[in-house]
Structure formats: structure tokens, C-alpha cells
Symmetry: C2
Subunit: 352 residues, 2 copies
């Protein structure tokens, strides 16, 4: 088991290891004096792990109430958020109680934003059950819901009191979820760690399990370091968006249902690296190496829309600032930088 | 004109004076480099002042877009909030733009929460146009919307970049709005300033206008002092809730439409002071003095429900913590304290 301490505006631990679900209640008592724990989860994850988590929370002395919503990105809406608020109020959850987010990124986002807003903020603990949520959503405090105009356009910065990453939870979920997370894992290698990228390039979907605890811990550490330098997302943290500007447009193109986030990010990274290589902004051959690495995790895929078609959509993205856009370039594996580009120049580059 | 500096997690000025609407644009350029200003207002206030504010903002170089919603507490909903988010996104408002809240408490709450959540936070400026909003909502950073289960149960702490209180705006609005605000003004005297309470007891609705700039400035200063000591509402700030625990129940009883907030607070203060006097917790005669003072502002009213009937409803209030409730007692004008009471004892006291 590994524990990574995150020092944000509120400090907390990310615990990574095997078989942690059954002891979650005990761990949560160490960070919360709550009388009640409100589990927020989706129907799939709750069906798999809800009972074990409830049992552990009750054994640790919490009164437990549970809210579940239909799984999938479509639930990341203000309508479902509103249902969570009503649920918390109806169950008399007070400022001294705790919300437990049990599930993937959608659950973490929804429960996190609900925790930030209900009574103007109550404590929450995250139990991410997907690889993507463990390496991405568990650190950083970003929570959000989608609105008509786009993904993650409404939300809050909210730090959890504790994050519990149970690696065994990953093996129960369909392989698609695991693949999805590997997109972000490769991203961490690309932006900050040549060593991690190298490790990933020497493993594959079949044997990555052997080094998974270390890989997750390394991703969490990288994100921790970046976020600690820039909690409120005004500078270095943008590096984490490598591949994401185009990825968001791709997800939008497929109506958030046709392609997973990790796959969209993989395509976004490949497109951006190809463009960087074509424009002399990165080492020759890097795109091929990235593509080969992603291929090992069934992430070397292509999408219908061309980069320039994704450009206009990207301009609604919140990363756009005034008349310019910040894009992330990897000059080599493990070495990334932020490039502020006038919007017309960005569109021109996308046209190739 | 008076300027009061508020040092919260973000520092800002509250400017109080006459005829400030026409120069608001210029003032806002001093705190924001935004290209666009998005006005959020209700239909009534926008009809009265929208044009002047837009004109001033445009003259100062802002591109201006405006969103209005139907006036009244019923609009303080997640549904209208959601419309604001869509409006901001459709108009491509970015993190470097600014929201201008033009109106009373509902507008400040809605626009403030929207500013806190849209893109996880963009700047906002408040132009409160009611006395209640000028003395209450302009300082403290509390923003909120109502949900089914109760008032203000969802929200955020969000500090504005600037607050502009135009006293002339108050005279255009119906007298009822002014009376409403006087309830909170008397509250400030009761909890923190015997001098203010005395001044209010020697004026009335007809001549309070003569000293209004000073009165508003004193209220804002009191709230500033209290909030600076306790930005996130865990201690002294609870004093500002004097009369509010029962007031919220009264408003709920009348379905948020039958009674104004200021009137409900006035009744709440009188009830709590009567109970305090009956239980030896305050100076004999204080209830009569408070009643006489409120009478000068048409606020000596009575309501249908009895204190004990309001008790159970109050227990859903977010001020309840675990098995006890924090109530605010004034032992004399200008002298208040927080009393933590077990819930059964509180209900017993309400039964008289």
C-alpha cells in the first residue's frame, strides 16, 4: 500500500493498494467526525461495491444513506445534481456530515460539486473505482457538471478529506474502462516522466497489472506535484490538459457517448504531437513512439473529424482566453510546455 | 461618498454614495480587465436601471450582454441558475470576463453563485439596488439558491471584486422594499452597536433618509468586521443570524411569498428577545424597546404561527448541528452572543 500526501488548500492523503473497500469506514473515521455518511454512486458501481462500502461504514459507526443515479456521462447534469441536493436535504445531512463518492469520474465530479455547494460546502471522501478516476480525478479538486453548451462548464474547486484507491476494484470492471484510464496514464508519462513512458512502452494491456500500484502512484504523484504548484489552474496545471483541447471537441462531436474520454485524449495527444512534429516543435519520431505506446493499450485509434474541424469547436472550450488559446506541446517524452497562440494561428496550424 | 475596504480571501471595496450607477463602468475598469460584462438582473430592476448601467459599461469599453429573469424569490432556483449558465456559455463568456449583478438579494445570490460556479469561478461585481442587499448581501460572500427542502441550502462563498451601493436607487423602489431592509438595519444595531440602535430609535421611516449614507456605511462596517473575523461562517459570523432561525421558518410557513425577509427577521428578533427576557438571558425591557424601534419602520408586526410551531421547521435549518442548535441572544442593544442549546431544550424554551 502506498500513501501520497497532497498539500492543497486542504491537505489530504491518497491511499493506493489492494482490498481497501472493506476497511474504508475505519479510514474515514480518521478524517471525519461525521455522524452520517451519504454515499453517492451510480447504479452499476453501487451494484458491485455498494454493499461492502455500506457495511464498512456502518461497522465504523456511521449512519449510512445512499443515493444512486443512472451510470454514464448523461447523468453529469444539473438535473441529477439537483436530485442529489434534494436527497441530502431530505436526509437531514448537516455541515458536520460527510459525502462518500463511490465510482468513476462522473460520480466524483457530481458528488464533489454537490459537496462544494450543499450548505456551501461539506466534507467529502472519494473512492474512485476506475483507473481514470484514480489517476485523474483523485487529485486536483476539480469538480464539474456538463451543461448544454459543453462539458465541465460549471463546477467548483473542492478538495476531498481522503481518497481511497482500491486496485482490486479495477479488475471487476469491463476492460473498456481500464483502457480508458490508460490514455491518461500515458499522458502523465508524456508530460512529466520519460521513465514512466518508457515503462509503459515495455508493457502492454496483458501484463501492466504487474506494476499497476507503482504506475498509479507515479501518476498521482505527478498530478500532485503539478497541482500543488497551481491549485487554481492558472499556470502549470494546464500541462495536464495535453491532448484535452481536441479531446473535448472529439467527445462533443460524438455527443459524449460514441467515444470514451481516454480514447479521445489519446487521439488528441497523437494529433497534437503530429502537428508539433510537423511544425518543428518536438523531436522527430516522437509521434510514432507515442502511437506505438498507445497501440499496446488498444488506444491507437482514429476518429472521423479532422483536426481543423475540431478547431472551431475547441474555441468554445474554457481554455480559450480572450483572443488566444493555450495549447500544450510535448517536445519529448516527459518534457512539456504551454504555448499561448493567437486563435487564427492555432486554426491555421490545425489546417496543416 | 464612503468607501469601505473588506479584507476577505480576496479584498475589495464597498462604495456607498449618491448617483453611482452612471459611473459604474469606469469604476469596474479599475478592478477588471474583462473584455465582456454580463449583466444579470431581474425584469423589474433591469427595467429601471438596466439602460443606465449598460450605457456606463459600454462607455467604459466593455462589450455588454444582459440576462434578466422574473423578479421574486421564486426565481432563486436551480432552474433559473441553469438558464444563467446556458446564457453565459452561449455568449462565450470566458474566465477573464466579468458578471455584473444588478438588483436585490435574489439577483446577488443568483449572479454570485453563477460567478462562483461558471468555469469554476469568474469575477463578479455587485450593484445592490435594495437597502437589504446593500447592508446584507454586499459583504460576506455568501451566495445561494433555494431548493425544495429549504431556502439557501445550496451555494458558495464567493467574494465580489467591487460593490457599488447607489443610495438614489433606493428611492425609486416601492417603500415595501425599503421597510424590508430596515429589519436588517435594526438587527445590526441590536447585535453590535448601541449607538446605531439609539439613532434608529430617534428616527423613523419619514426622516431616516437624512442619515442613510451613514447608516448603510455603519451596517456594512459591522458586517465587514464580523465577516473578517470569520469568513467561512464557523463562529462569530453566526451573530448575523440573530432572528434568522425563526425568520426562515416564518418565510417557509408563508411559502416565501406571504412575508418579506426583513419582516420575518423583525418578528424573529422580537420572538427571540421575548424568550430571552422570559428566561433571564437579557435586560428587562429590551423587548419593548426593540418593538418600539421596529414600530417606527412599520416592522412591529405579528405572524400566525407561534414560536414552538416554528421550532420543528427550524430544525431543518442548516444552523442545526448534530443534536444541538446555535441560537443568537442579545443581552442588550449592541451586545449579542451565541448560545449552543440541545435541541430538546430549545423546543422547550419555544413552548414558553
Amino acid at each position: 500500500m502506498q500513501t501520497i500526501r497532497v498539500n492543497a488548500s486542504q491537505s489530504y492523503d491518497v491511499v493506493i493498494g489492494h482490498n481497501l473497500l472493506d476497511s474504508c469506514g475505519e479510514r474515514i473515521t480518521q478524517v471525519s467526525k461525521a455522524a452520517k455518511a451519504a454515499i453517492v454512486s451510480d447504479d452499476t458501481v453501487y451494484g458491485l461495491y455498494g454493499e461492502r462500502v455500506e457495511k464498512s461504514l456502518k461497522a465504523a459507526g456511521f449512519e449510512v444513506v445512499s443515493f444512486t443515479f443512472p451510470h454514464g456521462e448523461a447523468s453529469k447534469s444539473i438535473a441529477v445534481l439537483s436530485e442529489i441536493f434534494d436527497f441530502l436535504a431530505e436526509n437531514h445531512i448537516t455541515r458536520s456530515d460527510v459525502i462518500v463518492a463511490l465510482g468513476g469520474g462522473v460520480t466524483g465530479d457530481m458528488a464533489g460539486f454537490a459537496s462544494a455547494s450543499y450548505l456551501r460546502g461539506i466534507d467529502f471522501v472519494q473512492i474512485p473505482t476506475t483507473l481514470l478516476a484514480q489517476v485523474d480525478s483523485s487529485v486536483g479538486g476539480k469538480t464539474a457538471v456538463d451543461i448544454k453548451a459543453g462539458k465541465n462548464l460549471v463546477g467548483a474547486f473542492k478538495q476531498p478529506k481522503l481518497v481511497i484507491c482500491d486496485i482490486d476494484a479495477l479488475s471487476t470492471l469491463p476492460e473498456e474502462f481500464f483502457i480508458d484510464g490508460m490514455g491518461e496514464v500515458v499522458k502523465y508519462g508524456m508530460i512529466k516522466s520519460a521513465g514512466l513512458f518508457d515503462k509503459l512502452s515495455r508493457h502492454n494491456l496483458g501484463n501492466i497489472g504487474e506494476i499497476l500500484e507503482d504506475v498509479i502512484a507515479e501518476c498521482v504523484s505527478i498530478k500532485r506535484d503539478v497541482v500543488e504548484n497551481d491549485e487554481f489552474d492558472t499556470g502549470e496545471r494546464m500541462l495536464l490538459n495535453f491532448g484535452h483541447t481536441l479531446a473535448h471537441s472529439i467527445e462533443q462531436y460524438y455527443n459524449y457517448t460514441g467515444i470514451s474520454h481516454g480514447k479521445a485524449v489519446s487521439v488528441g495527444m497523437m494529433m497534437m504531437t503530429r502537428l508539433a512534429e510537423d511544425n518543428g516543435l518536438c523531436r522527430k519520431g516522437l509521434t510514432d513512439e507515442l502511437t506505438a505506446c498507445l497501440d499496446r493499450y488498444k488506444l491507437n485509434i482514429s476518429v472521423e473529424p479532422k483536426p481543423y474541424e475540431l478547431g472551431e469547436a475547441a474555441l468554445n472550450d474554457k481554455k480559450r482566453m480572450g483572443g488566444s488559446i493555450n495549447i500544450i506541446i510535448c517536445e519529448d517524452a516527459g518534457k512539456s510546455f504551454i504555448k499561448k497562440m493567437p486563435v487564427p494561428e492555432f486554426l491555421e496550424m490545425l489546417k496543416g
